[in-house]
């Protein structure tokens, strides 16, 4: 086994024992990146110097701790290579949001999640590709070109955190953090046979996450297995006074959930998750996964979430509305791309017209329209009211069941280019990942098997702040099946 194939917890054990050094591990990952990057194009910016400096620092800490006999007290992620989605602010490292409008922007500050990972000693190897400003499903909307799915290089890795997914599946990083506004960590995880968690809204600080839709955005881990997801989650979760929407309540110890029994857990299976618009092959694989949960002692119950379909228009009003304001700051005055013009207003229009790509413009126009005079009540306000109903629908369902399970996405990874030609149809592929964001509940993607050698994901949705149950069930499922251990043959 190569070092770059390790999970974080495997690497941690080797590092603590002194069998490998952080520098060796980092070099192995950097070499792997060099080898596969021309084919997967997972990264926008690589940071080998930063990574090696951090790795050397980590080795120093290991050496000191070993002398002091305190190795076991070191942070779990010390010396572990980390990929950061390029919508998350990193001090001194270019943060482009995969947009021409920010292609030379270097933030002076770290996102809180990055601060916490840096404190643990994680080693940043680079910034990963995404749809521009996280708006998309495939990385096809990146100003730097699409990433490729390591399971089939002609297909998308999903998105918007597709760079992370491509890197993880290609073993071009050990762990990653992405952002999820309507499925952006879960869907690419499902497309690339990975684990990802969208935490409860408010669980992880958004400070430094470049805003797409503020009331929906959450940072979450993307990893090769459930244990790693738990380690990263544990590192980044928790209150941050810099984010008013960050919840001030202690983070449960999810590590202790791994290996606990799942017998008696009530798992709701919404019939809408297997209805119209779902690829029958995806449905078949996920049904199989559900039967495994049953074998593990969980009780399956069919439930109904009738507003599932309505979540799409709710999302495509609220998210663009918020985005239209969040993206107003890109005006070429203080940072980022500027198109020169003789008057300020010309400069604004050209800077934004040239700096943003088609999907971002589409959403800015849509969101601006939904908020504009005469349309606010019909679109934005109505969407917010339906949002209330979707929340209530989840609350009601969780009176009946502990976890809701189904597919992550209704489709298999599509060929590169499809979403660009069919943007409006592509919106519909968000069907199964949007409502959780609208309701603010946590949701996890776990490898569920394959159809035609393409990965399929199982989605587990929990009550607000009940990440522990999600980890418990996901871990039990992972141990029972082992789908996540499979690696793409093409690389």
């Amino acid at each position: 086994m190569e070092l770059y194939q390790l999970t974080a917890h495997e690497a941690r054990d080797l590092l603590r024992r002194g069998d490998i050094s952080a520098t060796e591990l980092t070099r192995a990952v950097l070499q792997r990146i060099t080898a596969v990057e021309p084919r997967v194009k997972a990264y926008i910016t690589l940071t080998p110097e930063v990574a090696l400096a951090q790795a050397a620092e980590a080795d120093k800490r290991f050496a000191e701790a070993r002398r002091a006999g305190t190795v076991d007290q070191l942070p779990d992620l010390l010396g572990i290579p980390l990929a950061v989605k390029d919508v998350i602010s990193t001090a001194g490292i270019r943060t482009t949001c995969a947009s021409k409008i920010l292609d030379d922007y270097v933030p002076p500050y770290d996102a809180t999640a990055v601060v916490r990972l840096r404190e643990q000693g994680a080693v940043i190897v680079g910034k990963t590709n995404t749809d521009e400003f996280a708006m998309g499903w495939s990385t096809e909307n990146s100003a730097f070109g699409p990433s490729h799915n390591p399971w089939d290089l002609s297909r998308v890795p999903g998105g918007s955190s597709g760079g992370n997914a491509a890197a993880l599946a290609a073993d071009a990083t050990i762990i990653a953090i992405g952002s999820d506004t309507g499925g952006s960590v879960r869907q690419p995880a499902a497309f690339c046979n990975l684990v990802a968690l969208r935490p409860t809204y408010g669980r992880v600080s958004r400070f430094g996450l470049v805003a797409f839709a503020s009331s929906l955005d959450q940072i979450g881990p993307m990893t090769k297995d459930v244990t790693d997801a738990a380690l990263v989650y544990q590192a980044i979760a928790g209150h941050d006074p810099k984010d008013s929407t960050s919840v001030n309540r202690p983070v449960e110890d999810v590590m202790s959930e791994l290996g606990r029994e799942v017998k008696g857990l009530r798992v709701g299976v919404p019939k809408e998750y297997f209805g119209e618009g779902i690829d029958p092959n995806v449905a078949r694989v996920v049904r199989q996964a559900l039967s495994v949960l049953e074998d593990l002692g969980a009780h399956l119950e069919e439930i109904s979430l009738p507003l599932t379909q309505h979540s799409i228009p709710v999302y495509y009003i609220i998210a663009p509305a918020e985005a239209s304001a969040n993206l107003a700051r890109y005006d070429g005055v203080r940072y980022g791309y500027r198109a020169e013009a003789s008057t300020l207003w010309e400069q604004y229009k050209r800077t934004r017209g040239q700096g943003f790509g088609p999907e971002v413009k589409r959403r800015i126009i849509l969101g601006t329209y939904a908020l504009s005079a005469g349309y606010y009540d019909a679109y934005y306000l109505r969407a917010q009211k339906v949002r209330t109903l979707i929340r209530r629908e989840y609350e009601k369902a969780f009176e009946q069941v502990d976890v809701i399970a189904g597919p992550v996405t209704p489709v298999l990874p599509w060929p590169i280019g499809w979403a660009m030609e069919n943007p409006v149809q592509a919106y519909l592929t968000d069907l199964l990942t949007i409502s959780q964001a609208i309701a603010g509940v946590p949701a996890m993607a776990v490898p569920a098997g394959f159809w035609d050698d393409l990965p399929v994901g199982l989605q587990l949705v929990g009550r607000p702040f009940d990440e522990p149950t999600l980890f418990r069930l996901a871990y039990a499922y992972e141990q029972a099946t082992g789908w996540g251990k499979r690696r793409p043959a093409t690389l």
Binding site: P108, V247, Y316, G336, R352, Y379
Partner: protein, 97 residues
């Protein structure tokens, strides 16, 4: 009801986005389709439903009135496309458009 060219142009003006003719035409079609799809929401009776602006139940999240250090000015201006004597520099701002 499909969006007119003027609708798209007006919204693009509000959003300060320069669009090509082709973009405007595409957006007319695409936005009309999305808004048509959004009519699904009209089926739901929301007359008695309060809107959700945030899913969080928290209120009164505030900080104490304490001064924290600002950024050094060279850092503030580090990414600026144009600057002059400590200011960001922009083309002339005319009162009307």
């Amino acid at each position: 009801m499909p969006l007119s060219r003027q609708d798209v142009e007006h919204v693009a003006w509000l959003a300060r986005l320069e669009l090509t003719d082709e973009e405007i035409q595409r957006l007319q079609v695409e936005l009309s389709a999305i808004l048509e799809y959004a009519r699904m929401l009209e089926q739901i009776d929301v007359s008695q439903v309060p809107p959700t602006a945030t899913v969080l139940p928290m209120r009164n999240v505030m900080r104490d009135d304490e001064v924290a250090p600002s950024l050094p000015r060279d850092v503030v201006l580090a990414n600026a496309p144009d600057q002059e004597e400590g200011y960001f520099r922009v083309p002339p701002v005319l009162e009307t458009e």
